[in-house]
């Protein structure tokens, strides 16, 4: 129970969303017990925490169904948001069940049809949903072989399978198809002794590259996202929004808004909305509402942010401690003390949050762009009063998630409005609402004090992260005297942040890897040692050494101490079970401070890779997305007022920024690890280190905007 209790601490909190660490999840899934604390949504409409105990089903029928036409439905509570599990999970099922990949149809995230799942985040689909899915398919196959043996009068050992047809090894004429055995129904037989899943050597489909299964739907515009769903009689809602976080509605006058034909105005406590069948008419009327607010905002803005965060930091907790820091200090010739910063960063998915709620026959169906359909089901059940079994969440394709769609307050809004009006209601946020209600990656500070002896061995490592989150705060290097402290429990510090914060692709790890790998580079430079050689000297983790050597070889790395003037940087790290190492080449315009990343080489050890094509695409996406938080992405704000409202004030990576990308996945027969996040974590450090190598200027603050680069150039020693 200890692990479960500990897990609750990670999920509870005003604006937090579920996120968790590897060791917790192993225990939780293994034990089949999961305690979920519902979270207060960004509108603060939910006052209580409720507890739900749900777990993955044990019946393999919950994961798959063989239809009469021979196709197989694969049911998963996971959702597809571009990360490609629609393809890789289908590969796993097809391989274990011995059917063609093309026969598998994915059914994803629908709470009525799919097995319970806590949500799609943390690069966990392959690592943690993969094993039970494969086990289910293996059991189904064993049962089918049993049934076929009876029907054909041949022992199971004398049977073989070819694409869903069970055939006698002796007499190819004797055969029976899965579909004939199941007639499209649930299989009514179970095994006491669960069969083994296949060995790596037996894989035929896993390990092969497949293009996105949903490609055709997406290039034709046929793929349905939530805002594309239509229900007869549906109304679009446009909701009154406060000017800032912390503003409380004092009075509201909706009389002008009510004058337009066909509008429906809803006033339910904090939820004031105008509904119309035409979204632009709803918006026009909404904009005529007059409202007054009371303000109670935190005295913080994007200028005084880091002082504020440090001043308000709660007491730290020791996450890891080895040796004795005082002894370490005495074993050090060169001491490096640094402070690293990163600003608030938005998810900025191309699809804004959307939900369509429809009530029929005492049941509510909500289509929602959410990474957490089952937690959303629980929240909506509690808020609307519909029993859990009468709440169905259907997540269509998601237009990006990155952690931002683990929060689902738009679905709650749609459900409330549907309940109040009795009409189907679509809530699809505008871009400004998306920036306002985003659960930003928390701004954070990292303080590191480290030291090396004369030989370049790191003997001291004193690491303090404030609000970044623990993920990625491990030392990774072999240091005898080390301590890691966490202040503020990552994004789960609602008492400090002036608005909602949450999990952002590889939460915590982008900040921590930026700090750690920058610090390593500073020490390497002080030791006048090549930064790869310096790392190898201080590493004992063989898999980290493996990716570093691989990336150095593939990039054609020629050793040199920084700054070499070449503009080459290196960084490595660990995330979601995978090891990654990057080498980047940059060009710095010393007049404007603008940085162009010209080439990125990345090596990744993710264990056995189910779909190399899909994994490669994720690595490329991580590298391109990582350019943004490294170079430009920063939320501007004053108190609770978000100044960043649109894409002209929040710059995403553009085509002209994109480097030449070379990815290398190590081929290993080890358990598959995460692939959606690891390759993004090194981007801040690898660029910072390359800037230093090019110019001798060290950047300590993400994003490394032209102004900050110019400042660093001015201040360089």
């Amino acid at each position: 129970m200890k692990e479960t209790k500990e897990y609750n601490e990670y999920t509870a909190g005003e604006t937090s969303v579920p996120g968790l660490r590897r060791r917790d999840f192993f225990k939780l899934l293994g034990g089949g017990l999961y305690v979920f604390f519902n979270v207060t949504d960004a509108l603060n409409v939910l006052a209580t925490e409720s507890e739900q105990r749900r777990s993955l089903p044990t019946d393999y029928n919950a994961f798959l169904l063989i239809h009469e036409d021979g196709t197989v439905s694969c049911y998963t509570g996971k959702i597809e948001m571009g990360q490609g599990v629609i393809t890789s999970l289908a590969q796993m099922l097809a391989d274990e069940l011995d059917v063609a990949y093309e026969k598998v149809k994915m059914v994803m995230g629908d709470t009525m049809l799919c097995p319970w799942d806590m949500g799609t985040f943390g690069s966990m689909s392959t690592r943690f949903f993969g094993p039970p899915l494969r086990a289910a398919a293996a059991e189904a196959l064993a049962v089918l072989l049993d049934m076929a043996a009876e029907k054909l009068g041949i022992s199971a050992e004398q049977l073989t399978v070819e694409d869903g047809v069970i055939i006698s090894k002796q007499d190819k004429g004797k055969k029976i198809a899965y579909r004939e055995l199941t007639s499209g129904k649930k299989i009514e037989r179970y095994l006491d002794q669960k069969p083994e899943v296949k060995d790596y050597s037996e894989f035929r489909i896993m390990g092969k590259s497949f293009n996105h299964q949903d490609g055709r739907l997406k290039v034709t515009g046929e793929a349905k996202y939530t805002a594309d769903i239509r229900v007869p009689g549906m109304l679009y809602a446009r909701i009154l929004r406060p000017p800032s976080h912390g503003a409380k509605l004092v009075s509201v006058d909706t009389s002008e808004a009510e004058k337009q034909d066909g509008v429906l105005v809803v006033k339910d406590r904090d939820l004031i909305a105008v509904l119309h069948e035409n979204p632009e008419k709803a918006e026009e009327s909404r904009d005529k509402i007059k409202a007054e607010y009371e303000f109670d905002e935190k005295d913080v803005n994007d200028q005084n942010l880091f002082d504020y965060l440090l001043k308000n930091a709660p007491e730290g907790q020791i996450i890891n401690s080895q040796g004795d820091l005082d002894i370490g200090k005495r074993m050090v010739d060169t001491l490096v003390e640094s402070e690293y910063y990163n600003s608030y960063v938005a998810h900025a998915t191309m699809e804004t949050h959307a939900a369509l709620a429809h009530i029929e026959d005492e049941k509510i169906t909500v289509w929602a762009s959410t990474q957490t359909p089952f937690p959303a089901q629980e929240t909506i059940s509690r808020v609307t009063g519909f029993p859990l079994e009468n709440v169905r969440i259907i997540p269509p394709f998601l237009g990006g998630g990155f952690g931002g769609k683990t929060a689902h307050s738009q679905a709650v809004e749609a459900a409330r409005l549907a309940k109040i009006t009795g009409k189907p209601v679509m809530v699809d946020w505008s871009r400004e609402e998306e920036f306002f209600y985003d659960t930003f990656r928390p701004a954070a500070v990292v303080q590191i004090s480290t030291g090396t002896d004369a030989s370049g061995k790191i003997n001291l490592w004193d690491y303090k992260e404030y609000y970044a989150g623990e993920r990625g705060s491990d030392t990774i290097y072999d240091v005898p005297h080390q301590r890691t402290m966490a202040f503020g429990r990552g994004w789960r510090a609602p008492e400090v942040h002036p608005f909602a914060t949450g999990a952002w692709r590889a939460p915590g790890n982008n900040t921590n890897t930026f700090a750690r790998e920058s610090q390593i580079d500073i020490m390497a430079a002080k030791a006048q040692t090549d930064p790869i050689e310096f790392r190898l000297k201080n590493l004992t983790d063989q898999r980290m050494i493996g990716v570093l050597k691989e990336v150095a070889e593939k990039a054609g790395w020629k050793p040199a101490a920084s700054p070499s003037g070449r503009g080459f940087g290196v960084a490595c790290g660990f995330d979601a079970g995978a090891h990654v190492a990057h080498i980047a080449e940059v060009e710095v315009d010393q007049a404007t401070g603008r940085v162009q990343v010209k080439r990125v080489v990345c090596a990744q050890d993710m264990g056995f890779c189910i779909n190399p094509e899909g994994a490669t695409i994720q690595m490329e996406g991580c590298i391109n997305m990582g350019l943004g938080y490294s170079l430009t992405e920063e939320v501007k704000f004053t108190g609770g007022k978000i100044e960043t409202k649109d894409f002209s004030s929040y710059q995403l990576p553009r085509f002209s920024w994109i480097p030449k990308i070379e990815t290398h996945i190590l081929e290993l027969n080890e358990p598959p690890q995460g692939g959606g996040e690891p390759a993004i974590i090194c981007m801040g450090a690898v660029i910072a280190n390359a800037i230093f190598d090019a110019t001798g200027a060290r950047l300590y603050h993400l994003p490394m905007t032209p102004d900050r680069v110019l400042d660093a150039l001015k201040n360089k020693l």
Binding site: K218, Y225, P279, T349, M350, R431, I623, D646, S648, S656
Partner: protein
């Protein structure tokens, strides 16, 4: 008198009641139920709503319906003909030039608009021409490759 706007949509004549406040984006998405054209920002920044208006790639969220009267509009749904995907669509599939797919229709329509104007695009011109279409998943390299491959393919078909 009932005011209507008439125009050609994906090769067919259509009409819609006149509403001076309506944008082409929302007319497409709600009245015509062509949901392949996406709302991404409503300010012309991101390009998710790109369609072809009289041979030009434009941001449909920035075009009022009064500007559409008598015009020819092509959306992503109008690009394939008789179930045969357009070369650009095939190239996006073959290059896996998408992840979440939300920006994809706008990317393809913008590329289509570029190629309508200049079938001889260099890689640099493709990059410059696609610059204002945003992809959050980071499929940029593949999108460029797909457009470049499609341009070559379209040219070779023309000269064959």
């Amino acid at each position: 008198m009932e005011d209507k706007i008439q125009f050609e949509l994906n090769g067919k004549p259509v009409e819609i009641p006149m509403d001076e406040h309506q944008t082409l984006l929302w007319a497409l998405r709600t009245y015509f139920n062509l949901t392949g054209t996406k709302y991404g920002c409503g300010q012309g920044d991101c390009g998710a709503c790109t369609v072809i208006l009289n041979g030009e790639a434009i941001r449909s969220c920035q075009v009022g319906m009064n500007e559409v009267s008598g015009a020819k509009v092509i959306t992503i749904e109008g690009l394939a003909s008789n179930g045969e995907l357009h070369t650009l669509q095939k190239a996006f599939m073959e290059h896996d030039a998408l992840q979440c797919g939300f920006c994809t229709p706008g990317m393809i329509m913008n590329a289509y608009g570029l190629l309508l104007k200049n079938p001889d695009l260099t890689k640099e011109e493709i990059i410059a021409g696609m610059e204002d279409n945003f992809c959050r998943c980071g499929a940029h390299n593949r999108i460029i490759d797909a457009v470049e491959a499609a341009a070559k393919e379209m040219k070779s078909v023309e000269t064959r």
